[in-house]
Subunit: 604 residues, 2 copies
Amino acid sequence: MSSRAQRRINPAQHRLPLGAVKITGGFWRERQDINRDVTIPAAARRLEETGTLRNLRRAAGHEPAGDGFAGKLFADTDVYKWLEAVAWEQTRSPSAALADWQKSVSALVAAAQEPDGYLNSYTRLVLGGKRFGDLEKGHELYCAGHLLQAAVAQSRATGDHTLLEVATRFADLLCTTFGPGRLEGIDGHPLIEMALVDLYRETGTPAYLELASYFVEARGHGLLEPPGHHGPAYFQDHLPVREVRTLAGHAVRALYLAAGATDVAVETGDEALLEALKLTWRTMVESQLYLTGGVGSRWYGEAFGDPFELPPDAAYCETCAAIASVQWSWRLLLATGESQYADLIERTLYNAVISGVSLSGDKFFYVNTLKVRQHAFADDQRSAVAGRQPWFGTACCPPNVMRTLSALDQLVATSDDDGVQVHLYAPASVTAELPAGPVAFEMKTRYPWHGTVTVRVTESPGEPWTLGLRIPAWADGCTLTVNGVEQPAGPLRRSWSVGDAVVLELPVQARRTTPDCRIDSVRGCVAIERGPLVYCFEQLDQDVVLDQTAVVPGDLVERERPELLGGVTTVDVPARDGRTLTAIPYYAWANRTVGPMTVWIDAR
Amino acid sequence: MSSRAQRRINPAQHRLPLGAVKITGGFWRERQDINRDVTIPAAARRLEETGTLRNLRRAAGHEPAGDGFAGKLFADTDVYKWLEAVAWEQTRSPSAALADWQKSVSALVAAAQEPDGYLNSYTRLVLGGKRFGDLEKGHELYCAGHLLQAAVAQSRATGDHTLLEVATRFADLLCTTFGPGRLEGIDGHPLIEMALVDLYRETGTPAYLELASYFVEARGHGLLEPPGHHGPAYFQDHLPVREVRTLAGHAVRALYLAAGATDVAVETGDEALLEALKLTWRTMVESQLYLTGGVGSRWYGEAFGDPFELPPDAAYCETCAAIASVQWSWRLLLATGESQYADLIERTLYNAVISGVSLSGDKFFYVNTLKVRQHAFADDQRSAVAGRQPWFGTACCPPNVMRTLSALDQLVATSDDDGVQVHLYAPASVTAELPAGPVAFEMKTRYPWHGTVTVRVTESPGEPWTLGLRIPAWADGCTLTVNGVEQPAGPLRRSWSVGDAVVLELPVQARRTTPDCRIDSVRGCVAIERGPLVYCFEQLDQDVVLDQTAVVPGDLVERERPELLGGVTTVDVPARDGRTLTAIPYYAWANRTVGPMTVWIDAR
């Protein structure tokens, strides 16, 4: 290995090998199956109907160039993210249809690649082949990044190297094009940083890491001309990444960059950069995060707001930003092993991410608001008031949800030299190769509806090893037993035997949450949470106008409603004048009708 | 007169002739003089430095076309609005410089006009003369509207018909170009409606009113393709104007359209349209209006928000929108005579409009926020956090302030058959020709700092006539005397003698204002108002962090501070822990430093 690799920060935890975790049932498995059965096939049709695949056919010369280009200039990324979902999905549930899609669309992508490795259908069809002329808005490296990520997924998930060959040829071209003394520039939309590190990890080619590091370091030095009314923070060019302490500008860009910078910090041994990113993450959590885990409080610029600027009604909370947040937290979790990162992953997945797709799997939210007022008016298909949409002009969010769900098994657990850490609770089987030997266990739970998580060891060496079960920050009073004997909450290190049973009891019962007093728009309000789920009040469940009531102290009454919204537990909350309000999980709102809704409710 | 004119709605009040009111001192006169001495001359330099005048020289062929066009495609309007200010200014305070500017720039505008009457330097220099190809974003009729308004001002104020000839030739071309059976289209940015009615009133040409009426009626039928992510409400094409009950979309556009539609309703006798506009105005005031009179709660789309969506920190409150609101209210005041419209004019002028220019007269706010947080970050020159700016890339606001201040005398008073109504209180002389004969009076006051307004009659016929002095809605407990004898509050009808003295005592002392409970972000807060002035707290006046304190009940202590901010009365407000917070008039904030500021403050 090179000296660079020797400087690597030793991460606290490691990804388990692909296939080591299988979610076998429960909340997420239901959503994964809908993703496989409805969402991914529907997207295949959309990519055709919208002309997105035709762009690639035209770029490949399989069809006459005709009347130009369909969709936004970054339309290729819809294909790449969908291909990534198709790849991961085959580790869960392979099928002939998935294999056919992978084969035919990957071949199409390969055919659209130019002889020197460049690939972008917009450049070919609209710009007459002129490359990198508009790094601010051109999205060429952003498109490349999604291609690289799809290629790595395909290689890891299926062993098919079709896209990986395309990606390495393109990445090689980027390495000879960009960098000090070459084209000194960065892309207006970060992503390439994270993607190049992924490709470096998959191929071992140091030049990819070096280019990723260059893109991170070159940022914040005014290489980009700010677009329109926006200043340089719009695309994170206002400060060097290591000097940032508060995220600013376009939320998806900021978070993809932060995730990529975290990768670079780990792989290059840059402790100072990692520390800066951890501080920035902390600032985000303390002052820029919605209760749902959603981020981005401004429609204008799709951007982070100032600290504590978190209006529920005007929240942007783009689905893609929530996904990017999960990707960043995942990298920090691996680097540090700190459960706060897994806490945020869980909060974000159960609320800000999965709210982005309908229960039916075929409609999407771009914006995940926390409040819809009486008489709200939608003048944008991204508005929650318009309801979930089958697709968008800018269709970034739907395939981002698809690849996230298809890859979700990978986030359930990690390992270190000493054992296995479980981060997400779901019915699942987990295997790991530890220094002590191979281990395996089955997890059973009805989480998030019920708080009991049972882990039964199915394989264990004679040597002791550690089983870590994450205790969420909200889980005061949880209990932990091994074979019926109570244990202190914390990692369980022991010599395990097959059949050993660990039972974690998480207190998922409904609770009231009060906001930070510096958030203007929810002062005096409470929200209802239950386990990892944020709840909300939809007008159609109430017999009083939401804007004209307030909740009062009293018991929260839970009801299991298997017939409602795919099966949820509702929470009845006492309100003024002897009324009762009924809350449902936030992720499930807007699946019956779209009307007034609120997460936070007056409590005075 | 035509039958159309006979259908006209008889307005309740009339504009006084130009020159009938002269503001002779006080708050507004100081700002008018700075406008004359600093703002208008500085703008003359800016129009040159930015290339805005050079665009017209190139379009006129006075300079080679060279390297194209400077600024935004509607840059001509900066010149027109400035010319309008130059025109009105000559009724207040004529000078050789004003006359020279008027002559030279009007000649330039005339020279840039094409033989058939069309005029737009962007069309000429960039579009190769191709007209009306992009009604959505092209702003050609918007530019025409500002030209027409400048021309009418010039004609009325100075008798110079140079621009009026240009305007009528252009308007004649528009009349033969647009309309049923011709080019059926409307402009993405309303204004032409109001301007055509102005020109109709100045020239008597019915075709201009007919075209204005067409543009109003054609709106809301999907003639425009919505731009970008925005829907048709962005430019008020979502509903026919007469069906609108809640303003939506871009605030300046919505308000210019509403003002123009009000003109059309009055001039065409369309009572139903006028009623719809009055209802819409009422909805705006009850649910879409900031305390300052500012409107537009969304940066995204520079738009009105949903009812009660009025975040103080994220407020857009564009200076131009406040000015447009004044223009609309003025038209409704004339049509109805109802003082609620004058109340809003006053609130808006003293707060949301005049905050848009620095006390020095040479720096401008585009956005008039009601709160700047701790650690706020500006990534846009329009942000209040960036401080007032000498000019903007889109420079609509500065010359809009200029023309408003130069024409302000015209808003002080109106007349009807029975008398004169005073709407704004300022040291001023007022004359009117009533059916009873000529009347004149002098107004003396130190308003808004002091509540005493003295009106002394200086000319009166023998016949009785009515003097109406507006009682602002906040002025509970005001008193009114004539020659020392108390009168019931209301219009004073009598036979006046020269020397008669009317004294109105308005209770301007500081008061606490509580918000509508449906506005989330200020729930539990109060604001301080004093007379027509909204107050705010700037961090630099406090010894406690604004975000970490709250006001408590107790006396509000006023202090006259002639040395502070050009002379203001401050208000000390008791706060938690025995502290005192000091409030200054909102319009004067950000004239020392730009830091945290808030209008609304926690009161719990």
